[in-house]
Amino acid sequence: MIPKPRLLIGLDFVTAFLFVVAVVMVFFYAPLEAVMGQVQRVFYFHVSTAWVGMLGFLVAAIAGIVYLTKGEEKWDIVGVAAIEISLVFFFVAIISGSIWARPIWNTWWTWDPRLTTAAIVELIYAAYMMLRQGIEDPDRRARFGAVYAILGFLSVPLTFISIRLLRTIHPVVVGGGNPTAAGGFDMSSKMLQTFFFSLFAFSVLFIDLLWHRIRLGTLAHKVEQLRMKDID
């Protein structure tokens, strides 16, 4: 058992600090938005969580490519760690966006390109998790996971383009499909500062969580090996 590295402990504190500062900025520093009122504050963490989500899926696709070329287990652990964190954060982004949309668009959900793509992305990576659960052999599980992470990541832009094409040809039915049209706003400089600070804080949070999750994955891998050895 490797003891917790000192750098990680430091990163934990930095992350907690940044997160608290981000929360304070969102609630007390950022001004009240003139049209939407308080609910606009959801926007800062909504975009940040979505950003962490996409970042994790990118990391997983890259880890997948590296795993397939090098075949080292650690890259599989990185891939699954990134996808797990991203699934959670992307879910948060979808739910918080939905709560924001209720008073602004007057509906919890519209079949807008971004929303629909987000839902499909979430389903792709849920399928990734189910695929992994269905395979016992660690080596095969890692290979299949890497392949599916790459395929999933590549399909996302095509899905987005095709749904966007569908919605621009189709009339928009409920609440304005385009978020910049209904519920868009100009950000004042304080809002911009809060926004970028939230993005930064969440990026650091992502790195911190990823590190922890990789450590957990490594430990789980060791336990699995010990279990195999004991069975033999």
Partner: protein, 240 residues
């Protein structure tokens, strides 16, 4: 002696490209001849397609006006479901009878197996489509024999099978193999299904080509990208 030498020379150093096509063809032919003997895959896919169309008839109240709008959707959902059935069956047959291991032992490029299986699946899918289209035409009095629609169906089936063959190879090696394929496949083929439905309904309603061409472009781009990726990663999916 010299004959022997020449033979062994030809075995160890064959013309690679012809050899590749021979191998692909051998896999395709193996699937076709097995199917000619049992006919279980095509008949299952066909009956299943008919059932899906019938269920849609009750579920959607397919009157004359509704048909105009939903025909493209109905036929693509039917193809997608029947396709999953075929893909799953064609691969699990290999696995159950140990054919996959045999294929992998054969001294050919692994991607030849992928292309062989994919072409086989594509042929079965085309066969089902060729049977289902006239039946749909007769049952619902909608003319489906529009050249553009045929092209759309070819492009859509290509993309569907390119990804489907790869994923079914993965799915059958998992513990949860019976339920896994649709869960893995459907979220990835949404661009294909969406573009195919839109292009099909465009052709059926006689929309101008300018409005349809973006959908066809998406289909072509998807087909090219995913066939290439599947070709590149297939090795990792069958490695033992």
């Amino acid at each position: 002696m010299s004959d022997n030498l020449r033979d062994s020379y030809q075995v160890t150093n064959p013309r690679p490209l012809t050899n590749f096509f021979h191998a692909v063809w051998a896999v395709v032919w193996k699937d076709i001849s097995a199917e000619l003997r049992s006919r279980e895959l095509i008949s299952a896919m066909f009956v299943f397609s008919l059932l899906v169309i019938l269920i849609f008839n009750f579920a959607l109240e397919l009157d004359a006006r509704a048909r105009e709008n939903v025909t493209a959707g109905v036929i693509w959902v039917t193809f997608a479901f029947a396709g999953t059935l075929g893909l799953n069956r064609s691969m699990s047959m290999e696995k159950d009878r140990g054919c996959l291991d045999g294929l992998l032992l054969a001294p050919v490029d692994r991607s030849a197996i992928y292309f062989g299986k994919a072409i086989g699946n594509l042929i079965f899918m085309f066969l089902v489509e060729i049977i289902v289209l006239p039946i749909y035409t007769v049952l619902y009095n909608v003319n489906l024999f529009v050249p553009g629609l045929i092209i759309t169906i070819i492009l859509g089936s290509l993309g569907y099978v390119a990804v489907g063959t790869l994923l079914s190879t993965m799915a059958i090696q998992a513990r949860t193999r019976d339920i896994l394929l649709p869960i893995l496949l459907f979220p990835l083929v949404i661009p294909v299904l969406l573009a195919a439905v839109k292009a099909s309904s465009g052709f059926l309603q006689g929309v101008s080509y300018d409005e349809i061409s973006p959908w066809l472009n998406i289909l072509i781009v998807y087909d090219v990208i995913f066939t290439a990726i599947a070709y590149m990663v297939f090795d990792y999916v069958v490695e033992e």
